[in-house]
Symmetry: C2
Subunit: 352 residues, 2 copies
């Protein structure tokens, strides 16, 4: 088996962690990084990650620059939350014959806000016989993919409810900022209304659920609201300072009505110094199913895992702009499972 040649587009905190995890995979060959920051372009991936085996792997200013040196099979895209901008960045990768996995949150379900660009990307994927998928942990797992997997053992689904409570104190700086930390609550609310703050991709989680369940709603039926969570004591983290009365996080909700019933009910709290972090998913119906992660699923680490672990399934999937639910069953790909099946069987017995 040839290794899968992977390039990393975007060298922020998630991009760097992505390379560190990818470097542990025997099936992957890391061929380069891409970042707009000239200071990063001067360094090798080895220097940026501390992994000496990557000392000879360069950082390029653009995907085009990278392609002059090596052709990737897969690009990992961790470069912001704008679906339009991400599709613009991904299109040339697809046209160059690379599959793309992205942590851009709305790419979990890009048809919701960018149906025309999605259709163009889908067509380009099929033309080049490659696949693109948006993934992560939220969106990408806790409040969408995992509930869908639970419905695999349901005979009737009345409502899908997911609650996630995250203590953002130990999370990366960009996340602490996007939840409004340190902002006046009115300012944060205004930024959210303008689409410039808050948890991105939340409506897309709901859209993936509705699509998977065959609930034919439109974007207008997916109603999102936000309440700032206000600090009652001062908070200082590595990245932000919050005074009493300022925002320390968000309480964001998405509800979907279908045929007069509440069918999707997503409830997210992400705040500094938030107590009792946990994730709970309830599938109301038959049987009634409730599942809890008592400590929650850690965000950043699980996002990187979700991204990298999706690659072997992505390269095997049907070409197109794919949904996470359309790839094979999520799995931690420790070894190169593409290299053939080693079945567990009685000792010294072989078949074939």
């Amino acid at each position: 088996m040839q290794p899968i040649r992977v390039a990393q587009f975007g060298l922020g905190p998630i991009g760097i962690e992505s390379i560190k995890y990818l470097a542990t995979k025997p099936w992957a060959q890391i061929i380069g990084g891409i970042d707009i920051d000239p200071l990063k372009q001067e360094q090798s991936l080895g220097r940026l990650t501390g992994i000496s085996s990557l000392d000879d792997v360069s950082v390029y200013a653009s995907f085009g620059d990278l392609c002059e040196h090596a052709k990737p099979d897969v690009v990992l895209h961790t470069a912001g939350s704008s679906v339009t901008r991400s599709i613009e960045q991904i299109m040339p990768m697809v046209q160059a014959g690379a599959c793309v996995a992205s942590t851009c949150e709305p790419l979990l379900y890009p048809w919701l806000t960018a149906p025309l660009a999605s259709a163009e990307l889908d067509a380009a994927c099929m033309n080049a016989e490659v696949s693109v998928v948006g993934t992560g942990v939220n969106p990408g797992f806790v409040m969408d993919l995992l509930p869908v997997v639970m419905t695999g053992v349901s005979t009737r689904i009345d409502c899908i409810k997911a609650t996630r409570v995250v203590d953002a104190t130990t999370r990366r700086g960009p996340l602490q900022k996007k939840i409004g930390s340190g902002l006046d609550p009115d300012v944060f609310q205004a930024l959210f209304q303008e689409g410039k703050a808050g948890h991105a991709g939340f409506c897309e989680s709901a859209a993936l659920l509705a699509h998977s369940m065959g609930w034919h709603v439109t974007a207008d039926d997916i109603v999102e609201t936000l309440e700032p969570v206000v600090a009652d004591k001062p908070i200082k983290t590595e990245y932000v300072t919050v005074e009493v009365g300022q925002t320390r996080g968000l309480h964001q909700m998405v509800k979907v009505m279908y045929q007069g019933q509440l069918v999707i009910d997503l409830d997210l709290t992400m705040a500094l110094c938030e107590e009792n972090p946990h994730d709970t998913v309830t599938v109301k119906g038959a049987p009634e199913l409730t599942l809890t992660f008592p400590n929650g699923v850690p965000g950043d680490q699980a996002t990187v895992a979700s991204l990298i672990n999706a690659v072997p399934r992505l390269v095997r999937s049907t070409p197109g702009l794919r949904l996470m639910t359309e790839l094979a069953c999520p799995i931690h790909d420790k070894v190169n499972i593409l290299g053939g099946n080693h079945y567990i069987m009685p000792a010294h017995q072989t078949v074939g």
Copy 2:
């Protein structure tokens, strides 16, 4: 879209529930039942299930008899726990061009105990371009597929631990018997050692986990033990009577060592009058993930759901003897998702 023509092989409690659920699926056309019981052959599926729309659907004595009247696309196989016997029954279905989903427990991972028969079935599947899969809730979901799905957000896995506690009081009669209810503990232990009692398919859950994680163990490394759970008060259910000192259920364990470490640790208690039923899965590693179903996943209902919901993914899968982890993401297929994608998007906007 043509509906998928489905036949039900085995009309015990699970088979009957399977038909009832299948009858709610717009994508399915139920073309017949198959059972060795002459009393059932005299009745229609409508009579056996109480669903009047099935009044004209017959029960046949064999798969061959059914084929003289109609050709199924899929056969649902719910007829016992012997992997050898099940493969013998499934082989002619595959040769006739039908996909097969089965609740036969060891079929979750048939390579473990029947590698040669599995290889033959796999070859027959590829020859006929159809797929076979073993599924259910346990084995099939709680202690194998779900932990695998969880590892999709893991960067390192040290050990997979799953604990399931089931109160069997309200479960079907055959299950109450297979957990030893009413037997002398020594008799039950002896039956278990002979492979004639206990929870079937438990080692197969471990094998699926080991296979999915790339832990190259053999069947000898998968160690299963059983302890009878003894009644300290008399118990009477619809199906069995248990005196003090007799068996009221089982405590069954499977452990797998790999490279000197305990990597799989499965712990199952199924007993009458068992308190605090629940399911807990822990993926030790990075991040550390623990998930609990506080009330557990109900067995029989979820088994039927898992079986029927697998069908649309099964008919789309790569031909062969498949594992549940090789099908697309588990999903409740309410509508005919095979009939094309209806994407959730802004109102009145269409693409393509």
